[in-house]
Symmetry: C2
Subunit: 195 residues, 2 copies
Amino acid sequence: MSVRHGVLALLAERPRYGYEVRTAFETRTGGTWPLNVGQVYTTLSRLERDLLAEAAGEDDAGHQYYAITAAGRAELRRWFTTPIRREDRPRDELAIKLALAVAADDLDVAEVIQTQRSDSMRALQDYTRLKARAGASPEPADLAWLLVLDAMVFQAEAEVRWLDHCEGRLLQARPAREPAPTAPAPTMRSRSVTR
Amino acid sequence: MSVRHGVLALLAERPRYGYEVRTAFETRTGGTWPLNVGQVYTTLSRLERDLLAEAAGEDDAGHQYYAITAAGRAELRRWFTTPIRREDRPRDELAIKLALAVAADDLDVAEVIQTQRSDSMRALQDYTRLKARAGASPEPADLAWLLVLDAMVFQAEAEVRWLDHCEGRLLQARPAREPAPTAPAPTMRSRSVTR
DNA sequence: ACAGCCATGTAACTTGTTACATGATTTT
DNA sequence: AAAATCATGTAACAAGTTACATGGCTGT
């Protein structure tokens, strides 16, 4: 329920109209998570339906404003102060994938890992580049965006490390078919990426 | 689309009936992600609707088997060999939360972080305990489950690190109101957790 | 004139998920 | 006999998401 609460939080700052909510959301997350405008309006309707927000008239330009309600503030407070438990997060698709891949006999798991790692590292570099650009920009980059970006970096790094770890577990589980070379061939494992 | 593909992968190993799919799924993920039986049946229906699976008769006990189709295998192959891009993952609710929390003026962000960290560290310990139990158990623990468990650990660790990092960014952003003590008071930051 | 952004909205669809109904078989 | 587990399914809903329709306003 990220979008829902996100929109609610933006309304808590001040009443906003739909299009404005979208821009605000995208600015905070630095375009990392684009938000379809349509979704803003569906979300606003649903918030209104649930009495967490309400229509708050229109301005001279004809913008339809929405404002948070008391119930909305309460719900938001609850959201902010309640930790997000790992159990009620969406299932980790990648973990499931690898867990099922190791049992598939007509599949090269090492290749799956390799492909994923390449992509994760590419993502990592993208983020690094974004961060560099944000730091160099004249205006001080939005704090919110920096945090989001950092989150992505930390996650991607963890993912790469986990993939490496999985490779290790695999070698350990099934004895190498080829007679293992005394010094393991330095294949394209993860290398440290400059931060 | 974790469940959908997960079920498909299980059918790829051999035809299975609904209840069996559930047990298999939960075994692989070690009960980390419980799966409502009902969802298995809805998923199977949808897979059948999309021609990725098909009914495959029943056995003596009356179990309704489902088998993967050629199209299903193709789709599965695609799933396995295509990396999961960060962009098409569900939005990170925690990141959004903190990104919006830093802008809220009637909210103690440090407390939000603190609460979340406590929970993440609790989760981390739970996983560690689970791993210990799995290692001590007589039967060699399911490789799939170990990988899933490791994924959770890596993610939780990254999350804690990120939370610490956020705290740092915050102190850096808004100059401390209290005259900063020369040596920063060792508050309850993250401590290394035995693995 | 035309492209493009601003702005609002709706219809339709997906996956995930739960709650419930129903009955057979097995264990205590 | 009661409780638990095995087993199959349906109805209903939430949240996320996209595609489309519609129109005003702005810059080239």
